[in-house]
Amino acid sequence: MRLELRGITKRFPGVLANDHIDLDVADGEIHALLGENGAGKTTLMNVLYGLYRADEGNILLDGNVVTFNSPRDAIAAGIGMVHQHFMLVQVFTVTENLMLGAEDTGPLGMLDIGEARRRVEDISKRFALEVDPDTRIEDLPVGVQQRAEIIKALYREAKVLILDEPTAVLTPQETEELFRVMRSLKTDYGTSIIFITHKLKEVLAVAERITVLRAGRVVGSTRPKQTSEEELAAMMVGRAVRLEVEKGPASPGEPVLQVDGLSVHNERGQVAVDDVSFEVRAGEVLGVAGVQGNGQTELVETITGLRSPVAGRILIGGRDLTGASPRKVHRAGTGHVPEDRIGDGLVLAFSVADNLVLNTYDVQPFARRGVRDERAVEDAAENRVKDFDIRTPSIDAPVAHLSGGNQQKVIVARELSRPITLLVASQPTRGLDVGSTSYIHQRIVRARDAGTAVLLVSPELDEVLSLSDRIAVMYRGRMVAILAAAEASREEVGLLMAGAAPAAAGAPERGSR
């Protein structure tokens, strides 16, 4: 089905989210919609999906103007959307989820699960989307849950499929698999796909056409063969961006963080971190690579005092801080950029200023004898907003009103403007746009150059490779290898992440997953 958006304009009070956007998606085309956070991608798709009504402009399907008052209308017209956060009922089976809202009923309104199940199997076979219709969603890996979402859209006979940041939650292997599915949908069934992302490599790998949005406007449309990562990044940001992290050689000093024989259990009492030992020296970045869920989260939580280990020792600056409270770890000179910035790093309802002192609110100069010094807090906030280029209407604005990139800058500013000797950064650029990512990378390198020991944890291999001086690979709770970054190849680290034994990592054949 051919989809055209003509002059779509959507205003929110004070914000022009979409400004006369034109978009053409040809029949059976994979069309990437590229843009930074806040560029208006999601708003545009919500208009297309009937969640918002455009203030101006038309939607045309195969040349006919259509109006959508609700997602129900959009679905009926053949538009399917896979949201970034899946819309699945965790305790329902795949089949039950797919039926939800489009139930087949037999006599007396009885649910016809058998029929639905047959259709799921049929779609699954036809489109080569393997999934067991009787498994409960909560028991499926994220990649398969996403597959279920795609099948859900196909179950409703979608001709245009919108994928909103579909790779954000996937491993590299799952991403490849998704691309295979996208290509097969397109060539074999003529499904048009709108692929929303801010990852440049993926756009070049899978899209046929690329439309770039910036500040609510279309800034250009191009094809992968005619462009490059640098050019796309410049279009998105509006100026030339350095994609490579600029950094000189490290000059490591004394060990700051020493972890010795550390073992940690997760909530279910299973071993999550298994006898891990390593150290991070002043002035170096140790990057921990690994597919998410291999113990990195538990490792970081234990180092920062949020979780108690079952065995082993943690020394920071020579002091034994095994099992110490988060406060003690902070005060020993540790900065922590948590993995989940909204859940753990910020109090969204609090102002930017208050979030900037979230863990130093009770020390001089921000408080004296238990009473807060608002002036000192505000002065510090003004400075940090300036220093770290945090885009906010004011320091009193709730941090919830900031974009993801600026929220992350608030956390980084908070952690880096204390005197710290160790920075623990967990996925510091997750979900951030090119501009913010590059800024935060620079800041981390600058902290390293100033003599801070940095422990970087990230499932994004590129990030680990470009920032680290040494690379540790975690697999199933163990640190399977620690390599010097200069000697580590992308392939080698990738294989170690997938569980290949270190000795076999250099061998040409691929390790089993």
Partner: protein
Amino acid sequence: MSEQVEDEARAAGAPPGGTRAAAEGFVPPKESAWRAVLVPLLALVTALAIGAVIIVFSDPEVLEEWKFFFDDPGAALGASGKAIADAYGALFAGSLGSPIVIFDAFASGDASQIAVAFRPLSETVVATTPLIFGGLSVALGFRAGLFNIGAEGQITAGATAAAFVGFSISGLPVWIHLPLAILAGLVGGAIWGAVPGILKARTGAHEVIVTIMMNYVSFRLLDFLLRGEVFRRPERTDPISKPIEESARLPLLFGQDLRIHAGIILALLVAWAVWYLLFRTTKGFEFRAVGANPDAARYAGIKVGGSFVLVMTLAGGLAGLGGASQLLGGVTLYSMTPGFSSGLGFDSIALALLGRAHPVGIIAAAFMFGILRAGAVRMQAATATPVDIIVVIQALVIVFIAAPALVRAIYRIRERRAERAPASAAKEAA
């Protein structure tokens, strides 16, 4: 100790964010003063309007007129209007007084006449006083993400402790005995609040359940004490406590003719103290952080379990002060009887919501509830309108406050940009 508490809470699998969903809706996001006032005010107006309809329908004479609506619509509407005007007129005359009466009283220059003219206002303030304490208690909990249903029991516990100190010691000067009795109220309530706080921090027991149970314990404990030797007034057979010694009584502010007592001054001071605690001290910052996002608070090194204990203890203490003020102020004739708290603690929950968990809002909301409580008596006496109508109006106010979207829809107030645009921005960012 709180560090240990924290660890144990973790070990016990206490969900630090367990009450987040329950309580976070009650503390509204930062907003302009106008916005903060608008919705509660419209909620009140709407509730009064619906109350008016009920007044019409509860008056048999007016209903009689409605039978002939098509013959004489004027009579039906007129009778309805009169019934509403009479009822609400009496409500406000009974709670705020009438300007004419006040003017005449001053003109006459007769002190007792002036006192009579101000009696409605005095009664309203008397009704307002314990509600301020209770509202502050519940609001403090809301701010820290805790739903303190236990103000009722904490009031009872505080008053019981204050009563014991108040009647069992004699011969002390006022400036020692009275503070001592007030302190006893604070401590009694604090103990009652601390128990759910500690249980929540250590075991993850939900404070709603525990505070409700603590309410029952306090009621029955009071019943038990009032039958025992220590509390029971020897010359009486019914359960009533010994009277509070003169030296432990809160002074009346305007002489014997008016019941208004010094408790209101204490209440306003305490409201200021709570405001200062919440918005000026580091502890208050911790409480608010724990309430708004317990996970982030924990990451920032704040001891969430310790905050729960401290907040519940303080909240209990505030309600306990309310109980002490009620008792020592002579509202219950300086003695304890069964059912002492008489729903004050439950009204407090409502008005903490109405006052948006802010001390200034709570004073305003408590005064409003005071007006309704004090005026209801006169309303029932002067018109056929039953006093229960006030309960209905109070309940309606809460419904509208709890569902601000409803009020916005009725009055077509546009949602703030903050609620929409960032929602989509956040989606895009995540």
